[in-house]
Amino acid sequence: MPRTILHLDLDAFFCAVEELHDPSLRGKPFAVGGRPEERGVVSSCSYPARLLGVRSAMPTSRALRLCPGLIVISHHRSNYGEMSEKVMARLRNLSPFVEQISIDEAFVDISGLGDPAGIARSLQAEVREGIGLPCSVGIASNKLVAKIATEVGKKSGKKGEPPNALTIVPPGSEAAFLDPLPADMLWGVGPKTAARLAEVGIRTIGDIARRPEADLVRWFGENGQELWRHARGIDERPIVTEYEAKSISQETTFACDVRDDRQLERTLRELSEQVGRRLRKSGLAGTTVKIKLRWPDFTSLTRQITLPGTTDQDDEIYRTALALLTKVRPKGKAVRLIGVGVSGFKPPLRQLGLWDGDSEKRRKLQEAVDELQEKFGRKVIHRG
């Protein structure tokens, strides 16, 4: 059963909000961004400004050289958040499966809700008339193609005006839709990858799809495989709702059900280490440790404990997860799936411990291990 994923992108969002504040800006070249004397950059520019070559992320000073009459407005941040939240609330009315990826962009899973074109049109009308913001929508059977559909729609809009585009890629035609598009429109193709692709004569997404998968793996390693699948319009990533995005977790399903305590503990430790590493890499620390278990009859449960302080340490995550496991798993009961997660992220204000001498040492050890693994791979060092 193919999914139906809707991608919504607010057109020149910051500028659209400024136009609501000050309607006299409408139709004029202006930009929201940092001041030129402070080496500011353009965050967003109006469609008339785009006609003159101004682009977002461009230094404001350069934008002013291209377009001397450009009106530069500095941020009124709080109101952008409020407006964005209004739009996101409309999306959540549509379906609970909303993944917000930035202040002005989100995915919604609208599978089984009825005619996608109808849903998209009434959503666009609601956002435009109800909130006063123009937006473009792309619909496809997955996130990758839906997002690209939005971009394609925006590019084909009338110059100098918000595009208000709607692009629908029917299921089954993903590869054909992507075929003529430039390779760098794919997620994961940055300037470096694009240059490398150009060297071997690849310009379009279709060129990638027509190559043998092995070639791409040879050129780009693991990423090559993903790139090849994406080029054929295949993307199975689920919608990650806000709640989940606020936690980091790892889980594993055993090839056959496991009842051996040792093996479960070992797996729990590995998962805790993976979670710990991801936390430290993203500079996060959380107060809640949770475990997820699935029994052989497919019933699942999750249990969590809130710690007095935040943690990003493998040991602490493992000890807490193990205590939870011991508490909820009757002795000898077989397990089909096991997972560990940390959530409740807080600023890195650390509750010091009475016996910190030890944990300070462990923290240093962890840093050293992370560094070694970063340099030489995960297998280079592990717990004895």
């Binding site: 302080g309 011991t326 600023p347 010091l352 009475l354």
Partner: protein
């Protein structure tokens, strides 16, 4: 079994023991309350295998016997009965307990008392005699500092040590430490050390009434248990196995400043700060503002939340030593201040990342150590 009891005493007895019932146990009999005739009284007992509570109530006994009654059913039923005589009549064959009171007539399906775990019958010889009021206060001043983290079972207990006529209780959860000393009316024959689950002491604190009674405490040899016995109530608990960390070494020996504040004023400031701190990491900042020798100092307690707002309170203080900005988990501050009875409290500090010590002014028997919160 055939007995008559007063509804009020039955209801009170059940409310005492039902705290030890384990409602979701794999062993069905643990969801039940044991009722048994015992030398002219009716004995009610419940246990979750770690904690056991027994109480005795007055009864008119026509026929001895015992059974176990599903706790929830029994408690809910008795609560709705009129305040009259309740007659309990067991059909031993079918293990059905007939409960009659006023116009009400109930049959409850029970489980044979044989299946109930045996409860300790301790030898009270050589028991320590503890004064109820003192012991209750000691419990309240330490139990809250025990850990609830099952990953460190030892810290879920309170370390109790007795040496001659001094009894000391200590609890720590890794971030704070509470130590309370007390004096025994009769010195102990032998020194003793035990780690008693904080949960058991909390329950003990709840069930003992405020009379002038004494509590007898024994640790039956080789049983890994502690039993607290009073006239009408007995609380028993498994002890926690393991070694309690050496807490003496984490009590700071010196300090760079000593701040004396009014206990209720500081408590109120902390409670206000907590309203905002609880939205975030629970952190409150204490800005200890030292001043000239003859001028009064002040401590500014503040907390803020992204969502709800911010709060600050200035509390007058006498400060000896340097000024300091230090951050604490305000819940820890509130919890210790709530159990300090003295009008003034002293906060001893040295640095933003060094432990703070809180002592009631004029009382050498209690001290509390809190580790601060630190950025980075």
């Amino acid at each position: 079994m055939k007995v008559t009891v007063l509804q009020e005493s039955l209801a009170r007895g059940l409310s005492l023991v039902s705290r030890a019932v384990s409602p979701r146990s794999t062993l069905p009999v643990l969801s039940n309350v044991l009722i048994a005739t015992d030398e002219g009284r009716l004995r009610l007992s419940a246990t979750n295998l770690e904690l056991g509570i027994t109480c005795w109530i007055g009864a008119k006994i026509e026929e001895d016997g015992s059974t176990t009654v599903p706790a929830r059913t029994f408690v809910d039923l008795v609560a709705t009965l009129p305040t009259e005589q309740v007659s309990l009549n067991l059909n031993a064959q079918t293990q059905t307990l007939n409960v009659r009171c006023g116009a009400s007539n109930t049959d409850i399906k029970c489980i044979d008392a044989q299946e109930f775990p045996p409860l300790p019958v301790p030898d009270m010889e050589g028991a320590l005699q503890l004064n109820v009021a003192d012991f209750k206060e000691m419990i309240s001043q330490v139990v809250f500092a025990a850990s609830v983290d099952e990953a460190r079972p030892v810290l879920m207990g309170v370390l109790v040590t007795v040496e001659k006529d001094t009894i000391t209780m200590a609890a720590a959860d890794g971030f704070r430490l509470s130590v309370r000393k007390g004096t025994l009316s009769q010195p102990a024959a032998q020194p003793l050390t035990a780690i008693i689950p904080a949960r058991a002491l909390t329950e003990l604190g709840r069930v003992v009434s405020d009379g002038n009674e004494m509590i007898a405490m024994v640790l039956p040899k080789g049983r890994g248990q502690v039993v607290f016995h009073m006239k009408d109530v007995e609380v028993s608990s498994q002890l926690i196995d393991g070694t309690f960390p050496d807490y003496q070494q984490i009590i700071p020996r010196s300090h760079k400043s000593r701040t004396i504040l009014s206990t209720p004023a500081l408590l109120k400031a902390c409670k206000q700060a907590e309203i905002f701190a609880r939205e975030g990491s629970n952190v409150a900042r204490l800005d200890i503002k030292s001043s000239g020798d003859l001028e009064p100092g002040a401590v500014e307690i503040s907390a803020q939340s992204e969502e709800t707002g911010s709060n600050e309170t200035i509390v007058a203080a006498t400060i000896e030593g340097i000024g300091l900005l230090i951050a604490f988990n305000v819940k820890y501050m509130r919890e210790v201040l709530e159990v300090i009875k003295s009008p003034n409290v002293a906060l001893e500090t040295s640095a933003a990342n060094a432990p703070g010590v809180i002592r009631p002014v004029g009382d050498e028997n209690f001290l509390h150590v809190i580790m601060p919160m630190h950025l980075g």
